[in-house]
C-alpha cells in the first residue's frame, strides 16, 4: 500500500442513496454500505482520486447523490471516525434521541 503522503488526510467516499436518501459509504467491493465501518479508506492522494472516480460512476448510474470525500481521523487503537462533527452525525445519526411516546402513567 502507498505510504501516506504528508499532510494528506485519509478520506472515504460518502453520498446519499438516491431513492431513500440514506447516508451511504463506498466499500472496497465497490458497493455502498449504510455503515461507516464498511467504508474503504483512501490513504493517499492517488487512492482518493481513484476512489472518487469509481464512485462517480454511481452518480451517473443514478444510484447516489451528493457524493463527497470526507476526512477520517485515524488514531492508533481507536476505530476510524469521520473527522468533523457534521460527518460524525451523518455516520452515527442525530445526537438526540428520536422522540418516543411516554411510558404509561400510573395514576394514584
Amino acid at each position: 500500500m502507498a505510504k501516506p503522503a504528508r499532510n494528506f488526510e485519509a478520506v472515504v467516499a460518502s453520498a446519499n442513496a438516491l431513492a431513500s436518501g440514506a447516508v451511504v459509504y463506498r466499500t472496497a467491493e465497490g458497493s455502498w454500505s449504510p455503515h461507516f465501518k464498511d467504508a474503504l479508506i483512501a490513504r493517499s492522494k492517488s487512492e482518493a482520486e481513484a476512489l472518487l472516480a469509481a464512485a462517480d460512476g454511481d452518480v451517473k448510474a443514478t444510484l447516489i447523490v451528493e457524493l463527497a470525500l470526507i476526512e477520517v481521523a485515524l488514531e492508533e487503537g481507536v476505530a476510524p471516525r469521520p473527522r468533523s462533527l457534521r460527518e460524525r452525525i451523518r455516520a452515527e445519526g442525530p445526537t438526540v434521541p428520536i422522540p418516543q411516546d411516554p411510558q404509561p402513567v400510573i395514576r394514584t
Binding site: A19, V23, T95, P99, V105
Partner: protein, 551 residues
C-alpha cells in the same frame, strides 16, 4: 375552516401528478440531480443530512382533526413515527424516502394538504396569529385575509421566480403573536373610528444574516385594497430587488437601500396604477371567505365555570397548567389552550404520531375540531370550554403533553440544527435540552416568569434567535461548536433585534452562561412583575455583560 374549491382541488391534483412523474423520471435516470433539484424544492422536498425532508404547508397554522390524523398516519407509515412543527407553522418529516414521495403527496391531497410553495423563491405559506378567531384581544380574525392572500399568491406566474423567498404574516390583534415586523410583509388588521376594517402594512423585516425590523408603509389601508397593495410591493421588489447576490436579495435589503420614503413612493406609484381594478377584493368575496372562518357553534356553558374552578382548587398541578397554558377567549366560559411540545429534555416542536392522534381526538371531542400550529412550535386548541379542561388535562398527562411551561424559559424555540440540517454550523436541539434540564424546576421557571429563549444552528435564523429575549446562535469555530448570546430581542409589537452580548461560549459553557444571564435578571429586577425584557430594557446590556465576562 376553509375547504378547497374546484380550483384548489385541481391545482393540487395536477401538481401531485406532475411531481410523481418527475420523481419517476429522476429515479430512472432520465432527470439529473441538477435538473431535478429545483423541481423537488418547488414541492417542499429537501435533501438533509440523513434523508429527504418533506415540508408540508399548514396554511396560517390551521388544521382539522382529520388533517392532523393524516399527518400522524404518514409519520407512522413513512417516517420514524414523529414529525417536527416549525417556526413557519409547517410540519417537517425528517426521514422520508424519495420513492415514497408521490404516494405521500397523494394522501395529503385527500385531506386538502400539499407541500407547494414551502421552499424556493416564491411567496411562502402565509402565517397568522395562532390564536386567530379565538383570542379575547382580537379585533378581527386575520385568517380570511391569510386565505385570500394564499389564493392570490398560489402559483402566481409573476411571483414564482422572485429574487428570493418571500414571507407574509397577518395578525388581527394589536398584541402581535405572529412576529409581523420580521416578515417581508407584515399585516395588522385593525378597525378605524368609522368601524371599517383595514390594514397597517409593514415591509422589509426579516431575520437571517442581516436582521431588519420592517418599516410601516401605511397605517390604514382599506381591506379590499390589500391584494392590490401587496401586488404593488411585489412588483417593486421583483423589478428592483437584487438578483446578483443571494445574501442581498431579500426585500429587506431593498427597503434598507432605497430608504423608507422612496420605497413608500415606489409602492404608492404602482398601487395608484392598479388600484380599483381587478385586484380589489369584492365585498361578496370577502363575505364568502369569512363564512369559512365563522366562529364555531359554542356550547352553552355556565359562565361561573364551576368544574374549572373546583379543579384548580383541588389540584395544584392543574392550577399551574391553567395559569400558564390557557389564554382568555372571546367567548365567556371558553379558553384558548396551548399544548406545549417542549417537555423537559425533549426536542422542541416534535410530536409522535400517537401524540398527534391524541390531540386530534381531543380537538374533535372538546375543541370544535380545530387545531393550530404556533410559530413557537406548540399546538393550540383554540376553542375549549374551561369546564372541559380538567378532562383534557388528564388526557394530556397520559400523552406526555401536559408540560405547564407556555411562555416560560423552557418553552424554547430551536431549529433542527446540525442534528438534521445540512446548512447548520452547530447543534441546537441538545442545547435546548440541556437548558430545559437545567431549569426543569417548575417553581424556578415560574419565578423567572415570561422569557422567550430561541436557538438557531446557523445565521439563517430559523430558530428566530434575533428576536429571542435571550437568543442563541450556533457558530463553527475551527471545527468546534460555539454559541453566541444575544439579549433583548423581541418579536412582538415592540419588536427589537437582540444585541450580541460578547464573545461566544463553548458547548460546555453555554448553559451556565444562560443561567448567569437569568440570575443577573433575578438579582436586578425591581419587582417579580418586571419581566426579563422589561428589566433588560431598563438596565441595558452592561450588567449582563459584566456578569458574563468580567465577574
Amino acid at each position: 375552516m376553509y375547504r378547497y374549491d374546484e380550483f384548489d382541488h385541481r391545482f393540487v391534483m395536477e401538481r401531485t401528478k406532475e411531481f410523481a412523474g418527475q420523481v419517476t423520471r429522476r429515479l430512472s435516470g432520465e432527470l439529473s440531480e441538477e435538473q431535478f433539484r429545483p423541481l423537488r424544492l418547488m414541492n417542499g422536498v429537501y435533501l438533509q443530512l440523513h434523508a429527504y425532508m418533506l415540508r408540508i404547508a399548514i396554511p396560517y397554522g390551521t388544521l382539522s382533526s382529520r388533517q392532523l390524523r393524516k399527518l400522524a398516519d404518514i409519520a407512522r407509515r413513512y417516517d420514524r413515527d414523529y414529525g417536527h412543527f416549525t417556526t413557519r407553522q409547517n410540519l417537517q418529516f425528517n426521514w422520508i424516502k424519495l420513492a415514497d414521495m408521490p404516494a405521500i403527496l397523494a394522501e395529503l391531497a385527500e385531506v386538502e394538504m400539499h407541500a407547494i410553495q414551502t421552499s424556493g423563491n416564491c411567496i411562502r405559506n402565509v402565517t397568522a396569529d395562532h390564536f386567530a378567531g379565538a383570542a379575547a384581544d382580537e379585533i378581527a380574525d386575520p385568517r380570511p385575509w391569510a386565505e385570500i392572500i394564499r389564493q392570490w399568491s398560489s402559483l402566481h406566474p409573476e411571483f414564482s421566480f422572485l429574487p428570493r423567498k418571500f414571507k407574509v404574516a397577518v395578525t388581527g390583534a394589536a398584541k402581535d403573536r405572529a412576529a409581523i415586523q420580521v416578515h417581508d410583509i407584515g399585516l395588522e388588521l385593525k378597525r378605524n373610528d368609522k368601524g371599517e376594517n383595514g390594514f397597517a402594512v409593514w415591509v422589509g423585516g426579516g431575520q437571517g444574516r442581516t436582521p431588519m425590523i420592517a418599516k410601516k408603509l401605511t397605517d390604514f389601508l382599506p381591506e379590499s385594497d390589500i391584494l392590490a397593495y401587496c401586488d404593488a410591493i411585489l412588483r417593486v421588489y421583483n423589478l428592483e430587488g437584487r438578483r446578483d447576490n443571494k445574501y442581498k436579495a431579500r426585500i429587506k435589503i431593498l427597503v434598507h437601500e432605497m430608504g423608507e420614503e422612496e420605497m413608500r413612493a415606489a409602492v404608492e406609484k404602482e398601487f395608484a396604477a392598479i388600484r380599483g381594478k381587478t385586484l380589489t377584493v369584492p365585498a361578496p368575496e370577502i363575505a364568502r371567505i369569512n363564512a369559512y372562518f365563522a366562529p364555531p357553534a359554542y356550547q352553552l356553558c355556565d359562565p361561573a365555570t364551576p368544574v374549572f374552578v373546583a379543579a384548580q382548587a383541588a389540584d395544584s398541578q392543574f392550577r399551574m397548567f391553567a395559569e400558564r397554558n390557557v389564554t382568555p377567549h372571546k367567548q365567556p366560559g371558553y379558553g384558548v389552550l396551548t399544548i406545549s411540545l417542549k417537555p423537559v429534555g425533549g426536542p422542541p416542536g416534535d410530536a409522535t404520531s400517537s401524540q398527534m392522534d391524541r390531540i386530534a381526538d381531543l380537538a374533535e371531542r372538546y375543541g370544535h375540531d380545530e387545531i393550530r400550529v404556533s410559530h413557537e412550535q406548540n399546538l393550540v386548541l383554540p376553542h375549549v370550554r374551561l369546564d372541559d379542561l380538567p378532562a383534557i388535562h388528564a388526557s394530556l398527562i397520559e400523552g406526555g403533553l401536559a408540560t405547564a411551561n407556555a411562555g416560560l424559559i423552557t418553552d424554547i424555540i430551536a431549529c433542527p440544527g446540525l442534528d438534521y440540517c445540512t446548512l447548520a454550523n452547530a447543534r441546537s436541539i441538545p442545547v435546548a435540552q440541556r437548558i430545559s434540564e437545567r431549569f426543569a424546576d417548575i417553581a424556578r421557571q415560574r419565578d423567572i416568569g415570561d422569557l422567550k429563549l430561541k436557538i438557531s444552528g446557523c445565521i439563517n435564523a430559523c430558530g428566530h434567535h434575533h428576536v429571542g429575549h435571550i437568543g442563541i446562535l450556533g457558530v463553527d469555530r475551527k471545527g468546534e461548536e460555539f454559541y453566541q448570546i444575544t439579549l433583548g430581542g423581541s418579536g412582538d409589537e415592540t419588536c427589537a433585534i437582540g444585541e450580541i452580548a460578547g464573545r461566544g461560549f463553548s458547548s460546555d459553557e453555554i448553559v451556565g452562561a444562560v443561567e448567569t444571564v437569568v440570575d443577573t435578571y433575578l438579582k436586578l429586577r425591581q419587582t417579580p412583575q418586571e419581566d426579563f425584557l422589561a428589566a433588560y430594557r431598563r438596565l441595558g446590556s452592561a450588567p449582563f455583560q459584566e456578569a458574563l465576562y468580567v465577574a
